[in-house]
Amino acid sequence: MTTTALSAIALETERTNRMTRRLQRISAAVRYLILAGVGLVMLYPLIWLIGASFKTNAEIFADPGFIPKEPTLNGYINGWKTSTPYTFATFFWNTFLIILPKTVGTAISATAVAYGFARFEFPFKKLFFATVIAILLLPNVVTRIPQYLLFRDLGWLDSFLPLWVPSALAGDAFFVFMLIQFLRAIPRDMEEAARVDGANTLQVLIFIVVPLLAPAIVSVCLFQIMWTMNDFLGPLIYISSVDKYPISLALKLSIDTTEAFDWNRILAMSVLALAPSLIIFFLAQKQFIEGISSGGVKG
């Protein structure tokens, strides 16, 4: 074998390597292009919404593009005032008054119930667990009427109580189930070590289980916040006074009351209504992903 032959082989190898690299780069470019395209299609309504909220009413229907020609804050200013005696601040505050007890209550109650199901043996455990699953599978609509009657008899109509009390008592089977599944993936040794260290059941829950469950609990809180912000039917059924309306109802309010309504006001308020969910989601994104991808305990 001569050196020239060897270098010819080396050149050939180099050439194929270069070709492979180029092919890889092209395929990556194509893939990203497709992904970006699909992403844009999915995001477009949101982008348009934000753009349109700065447009004048006339322009909204005249121009399908999302960059406003004459940007104006009128939508926000008029929208915030609303056509009622209250500003949007009231409605935000109302939403907050529902979300806060609901989320805190869910986090505490769902964790406690999940801990019970995942770690203890008690009579009729299987029956109770089956009940939880049954609730999970039951369509919400089915329980609307009996629930309404119950809350009416309790005198809770036109108050926030029907909206958050059931959840704060671990009424959301989905969250209980999610936490049970997460807890099942966590080995029991740490809890046993804590018991040997002298911790009682409650101390084990607070000092060991809750920190281990933290990612899942964060996910539960996020889901609860987003779903509560988006909940329209619940407030519609139980809340009748305008001063107690949460955002979801207030948005609809501006459509109802005026004959020829201003779309830019509605769109502007929609943007504001979206903002809290988005901000909270981005803040807790890391824990959220860890929480829903389950089994988050290493070592």
Partner: protein
């Protein structure tokens, strides 16, 4: 300062499966007791029952003079080291060590001096500020041991603490734990240990006494030397020692000219000393046992030998393991590699002498050793 008494303890799972069959065991104050047995022999279950992590179906467990059956783990005066360390992943080492003391609301000064002492003892001072996931296996193991020591318990419980470490580290930790035990004893602290393992090397090297278990029953409790020299049954004989004891069926003959053992078509005359040891005098079927170290290639011209065919030779360094077939029974013979003639072994047939003072005879039905004397 306390020993541990276990009286007729039973464990039944769900009315059906009986995991522990009436075990009684006394662990003296300051003793290092090893529970050893194959997987599924309920050694861990027994340990967890002592800890209070598993309920007791019947019987009684007392630590010191106190019956602890109905006490929660935290009140039993025990500390436990788990197989996978079970460190609290969200707490730094310092908090891991002090968790128990903080629950008891001990004064801060006491916690700090306790941690200072333990971390010096185990050389984990530099690790106090780390999270468990930043520790290597050996370090995590030391922290887990530290968490047990800091409680100054009456009884230490170890549940296969070394099985997650690599072989080299395991050997080092073995020595470390034994010397730690001695040190605690010297300091006058309670140092009663119950140590669960499936590794008989750990058991033999660490235990003051060893409790060999099988299927939820105790097979023998004794110090390592007794266990090795005087196994009470075929299970212990086969379980303790590497390579394991050669066990084979044979026939015991008694005649006017003396006793002999018939193995297949071969016969070996038995020393009168062996016969003197026999507690069951009848001739007939027996299970005989001889350790690989107590059977050796016979010197030229020796009498009373067994003939076997060497099927395989394993060179282990200073020793050689010969795999031999004697009268259709597979044997292992360990011999010094120095002066061993490999060419001779490869020829096939060889003669072997049995060290008769180390020969064991077992009842073939019950498996009991009938050659222990009285």
């Amino acid at each position: 300062m306390a020993g541990l008494q276990i009286r007729n303890v039973e464990k039944v799972y769900g009315n059906k499966f009986k995991a522990v069959h009436g075990i009684s065991l006394d662990v003296k104050d300051g003793e290092f007791m090893v529970l050893v047995g194959p997987s599924g022999c309920a050694k861990s279950t027994l340990l967890r029952m002592i800890a209070g992590l598993e309920t007791i179906t019947a019987g009684e467990i007392s630590i010191g003079e106190r019956v602890v059956n109905n006490l929660v783990p935290g009140k039993r005066g025990i500390a436990m080291v788990f197989q996978n360390y079970a460190l609290y992943p969200h707490m730094k080492v310092f908090k891991n060590l002090s968790f128990g003391m903080r629950l008891q609301r001990r004064p801060r000064a006491e916690i700090e001096s306790g941690i200072g002492h333990v971390s010096r003892l185990l050389e984990i001072e530099e690790l106090l500020d780390r999270l468990p996931k930043q520790l290597s296996g050996g370090q995590a193991q030391r922290v887990a041991v530290g968490r047990a020591i800091i409680k100054k318990p009456e009884v230490f419980l170890f549940d296969e603490p070394l099985s997650n470490l690599d072989a080299k580290l395991r050997a080092a930790m073995r020595v470390r734990l034994t010397s730690l035990h001695k040190q605690l004893k010297q300091e006058g602290l309670s140092s009663t240990v119950v140590y669960v393992t499936h590794d008989q090397v750990e058991a033999m090297t660490m235990g003051d006494r060893i409790c060999v278990m099988k299927d939820g029953r105790i097979m023998q409790v004794a110090d390592p030397v007794t266990l090795y020299d005087r196994p009470e049954n075929t299970f212990v004989a086969g379980f303790i020692g590497t390579p394991e004891m050669n066990l084979f069926s044979a026939r015991l003959h008694k005649g006017a000219s003396g006793a002999s053992l018939e193995i297949g078509k071969q016969r070996m005359a038995l020393d009168p000393s062996v016969m003197a040891r026999l507690t069951l005098g009848d001739a007939g079927e027996v299970t005989a046992g001889i350790r690989p170290q107590h059977i050796a290639p016979a010197a030229a011209g020796a009498s009373n030998t067994l003939e076997g065919r060497v099927s395989h030779v394993e060179f282990m360094g200073h020793e050689i393991y010969l795999h031999v077939v004697i009268a259709d029974n597979a044997f292992i013979v360990v011999t010094q590699s120095a002066g061993f003639d490999r060419a001779k072994a490869s020829e096939g047939a060889m003669h072997f002498t049995v060290a008769q003072d180390a020969l064991h005879l077992f009842d073939p039905v019950s498996g009991k050793n009938i050659s222990l004397g009285s």
